[in-house]
């Protein structure tokens, strides 16, 4: 029975996948994608149908696990944030070569404006060079509807599909009409083309030719996609190509309908015929897209369109940061001035007293004690450098700690500290969280073990993946064994509790291990204050 519910974009997508016969969901937490797997975990059908929903160690392992499920004929999703797709890039790009058997959706959630990320990379570029179809929902309903559609598309062409989300859709709630019932799951079955899954050069060359041919079929799919359409307009002085969530902003600023013809795009490769028609009928074309100027570059390049094209490359639309209704309005005004029928809205009444309020580590957080002790010890040395990593403890960059000198990508603390030690840096300190360590720190630590690099690694273990809201961390209870297994010397593997009362003890351990000439690992441990509170509340409820 059809039901109406309020769902985040992430939740709508997850529910759509479940109701379309999902068998496995794979992910590593990352804002704004985390809620996709969390929703799958919380849904009653997940246990009833034995849908896989355990967190993976990183995005690469998640992607490969999902590919394995697809190999066996089952429908799978794998979800990550945009920079997670960098980690999964190897299996992702090669999955275009193997193709899919059971429907496979790769969900990458971009974060324009960098609400919680290092960069604004646009996942559509990845799908372009992997030659995969891409879907880009413009609202929560489309996110729901597209899950089942994407599985069918994937199975029809035996190809994985990229589904691109953005922060404002992932984390915005709206009414969604859902089927309220789930289709059956796929039967276990092997690929019809088993040879194609062994990417040896001879196979790959053959497959590559086929993929190039198939890409033309993907274009045909885009032309007839229910999510792409041409909308007539009375004023042909401009035509607008608008994709994904930007379509909503266009509708917001023209509540009575846009006067210009519009091509709305939510499925790629680009529907070339539709776009060519717009160019033929209109004097100029404007491209409005969330993220980097992907479509705009395609128009100027692959489609070889000349003439007046307005967008991010030409400066009418703001180049960085996420779009808003105001920015879209400004963009059209820049191109068409008062002919657009729009009136500029400038922000009025800006406060003169408001100060920025940056995020901070929680009171009672163990990372605080680590930084206090580390800062106090490092005062004893002439030129210490601390290489940071991705997680709550990145906030150690801010006042009052000002404790880290770098933050690049998952795991880079250990490897950068090693490279710096190679160059002669001392003390060279890496600080990394437990979940980030098992995500991408372990392999780098092996490099440091093999050369007994003169550096200290602090694993600030809070027994969870904290920044994204407390998901299970894959190394919990195993960190000492992992380090010893990698070859860290037992006498230089130290464990302490990150507590204010242990301040002097922490200082002593840090000092000894910095002074040790060679590799040391210090695991400083204390449960995340947020998850500890939740665990205490759950325990009290039980009792």
């Amino acid at each position: 029975m059809k039901t109406k519910r309020l769902l985040l974009g992430d939740e709508a997508l997850a529910l759509g996948a479940i109701e379309a016969g999902l068998s496995g969901a794979y992910a590593y937490p990352g804002t704004p994608s985390t809620e996709i797997l969390e929703y799958v975990q919380s849904h009653p059908l997940t246990s009833q149908r034995n849908i896989h929903s355990h967190w993976s160690s990183n995005e690469k392992t998640a992607m490969e696990e999902a590919l394995g499920m697809s190999f066996c004929g089952k429908r799978a999703i794998v979800s990550m944030k945009h920079v997670g797709l960098n980690v999964a890039a190897d299996p992702f790009v090669n999955s275009g070569m193997t193709g899919a058997n059971g429907g496979l959706i790769v969900i990458s959630a971009d974060d324009p404006s960098m609400h919680s990320s290092q960069n604004e990379q646009d996942s559509r570029f990845y799908a372009d060079f992997a030659m995969l179809p891409t879907l880009e929902p413009s609202n929560q309903q489309e996110a729901y509807d597209m899950a089942g559609y994407a599985f069918s598309l994937s199975e029809r062409h035996a190809i994985p599909v990229l589904l691109r989300m953005v922060t404002r859709l992932s984390h915005s709630r709206a009414n969604v009409e859902t089927a309220g019932e789930a289709q059956p799951q796929n039967e276990f079955h092997y690929p019809a083309n088993p040879r194609q899954w062994v990417l040896m050069p001879a196979v790959s060359r053959e497959r590559n030719r086929r993929l190039v041919e198939d890409f033309k079929l993907f274009e045909k799919e885009s032309e007839k996609s229910p999510f792409n359409f041409y909308k007539e307009g009375s004023d042909k002085s401009l035509g607008i190509v608008v994709s994904g969530i930007a379509y909503n902003y266009l509708n917001e600023i023209y509540p009575d309908g846009c006067p210009y013809p519009v091509v709305k795009i939510s499925q790629y490769p680009l529907p070339v015929d539709m776009i060519n028609r717009l160019f033929d009928e209109c004097e100029a074309v404007m491209v409005i897209e969330e993220g980097q100027p992907f479509i705009e570059k395609k128009l100027r390049g692959d489609l070889n369109r000349t003439g007046r094209i307005f967008g991010k490359l030409t400066g009418e639309i703001v180049r960085t940061g996420e779009l808003t209704p105001d920015e879209v309005k400004k963009g059209i005004l820049n191109a068409m001035a008062e002919r657009s029928g729009l009136v500029a809205t400038e922000p009025k009444g800006e406060s003169k007293v408001v100060m920025p309020r940056p995020p901070a580590l929680c009171q009672g957080c163990g990372h605080r004690d680590v930084y206090h002790a580390l800062n106090d010890v490092l005062k004893e040395f002439e030129s210490p450098r601390v290489f940071g990593d991705i997680g709550c403890y990145t906030l150690g960059f801010l006042s009052p700690f000002n404790a880290i000198d770098s933050c690049v990508d998952m795991g880079a603390s250990i490897t950068m500290a090693k490279g710096a030690a190679d160059a002669g840096q001392h003390p060279s300190v890496a600080i990394i969280g437990d979940s980030t360590f098992t995500h991408s720190g372990m392999t780098g630590l092996l490099d440091a073990v093999n050369e007994d690099s003169d550096m200290m690694v602090i694993i600030s273990d809070n027994l969870t993946t904290g920044m994204t809201g407390g998901q299970d961390s894959q190394g919990t209870g195993k960190l000492e064994e992992i380090c010893l297994g990698l070859g860290v010397k037992p006498e230089h593997l130290r464990t302490i509790d990150s507590l204010p009362k242990n301040h002097d003890e922490m200082m002593r351990v840090f000092r000894e291990e910095i002074e040790h000439k060679g590799l040391s690992v210090v695991i400083s441990r204390r449960e995340c204050i947020q998850t500890a509170r939740r665990h205490a509340a759950a325990k009290a409820k039980k009792a």
């Binding site: 109406k4 519910r5 309020l6 985040l8 804002t31 704004p32 985390t34 809620e35 609400h115 919680s116 404002r168 859709l169 984390h171 915005s172 709630r173 709206a174 009414n175 969530i245 909503n248 902003y249 509708n251 917001e252 600023i253 509540p255 808003t324 209704p325 105001d326 309005k329 809205t345 400038e346 922000p347 009025k348 009444g349 800006e350 406060s351 003169k352 007293v353 408001v354 100060m355 920025p356 309020r357 940056p358 995020p359 901070a360 580590l361 929680c362 709550c392 906030l395 006042s399 920044m467 994204t468 809201g469």
Partner: protein, 195 residues
């Protein structure tokens, strides 16, 4: 019917439960809703806001444009001022006046108060105090929801039902305490508008 609200506060203060309650009420009333939230890094003691849009007809954008909000509803006075450019000239600010000071350069309270006074239609009072007196120190957000309710185009009974449905799992005592806080806030604004 159409009400566009900017909900504001500091990460962890509980603005999202206000959004959840209004969401439950909207769903029951058959209204359209869009509500953009903030997750991730900013939740850790930073400024947080949520754009909440309610309407009897479909809503296009998840974000409210400049000068488009009917209401700024804030659990913290400086945070209310942060979003002033989004308020319609005839819109209302409903805010707690108890400051949440977790930064060194928090402005002088008299400056915050005087800007609030110059902000047109304002309902501002110490909601922490009223919550403590009438219900529980943790119910400031329900006092705020009550104080904002007269400006939301929805029957108060429907919002009260939303409170029941959201807190129902936590037991009758919690529901009653939150309802009491809600009604105290509602009464404060009703008295104020009467004058």
């Amino acid at each position: 019917m159409k009400t566009d609200i900017v909900l504001a506060g500091v990460g962890g203060q509980g603005i999202l439960s206000i959004a959840t309650i209004l969401g439950a009420a909207a769903l029951k009333e058959g209204l359209y809703l869009k509500q953009a939230e903030v997750h991730g890094m900013s939740q850790r003691g930073g400024d947080v806001q949520s754009n909440l849009r309610l309407s009897s007809s479909p809503i296009a954008s998840d974000l409210i444009p400049f000068g488009g909000a009917d209401l700024i509803v804030s659990l913290e006075p400086m945070e209310a001022l942060r979003y002033r450019p989004y308020l319609k000239p005839e819109g209302w600010i409903v805010t707690n006046t108890a400051p949440f000071v977790n930064i060194d350069n928090y402005p002088a309270m008299e400056d915050v108060e005087s800007e609030l006074e110059d902000s047109g239609n304002v309902v501002a009072f110490d909601m922490d105090e009223l919550a403590k007196k009438e219900a529980s120190p943790r119910a400031s957000n329900m006092v705020l929801l009550g104080a904002a309710a007269p400006f939301i185009d929805m029957e108060t009974e429907v919002i009260e039902e939303g409170i029941r449905s959201v807190f129902g799992k936590k037991g009758e005592a919690i529901v009653e305490s939150n309802l009491k806080a809600f009604r105290a806030g509602l009464e404060y604004t009703r008295q104020l508008i009467k004058k």
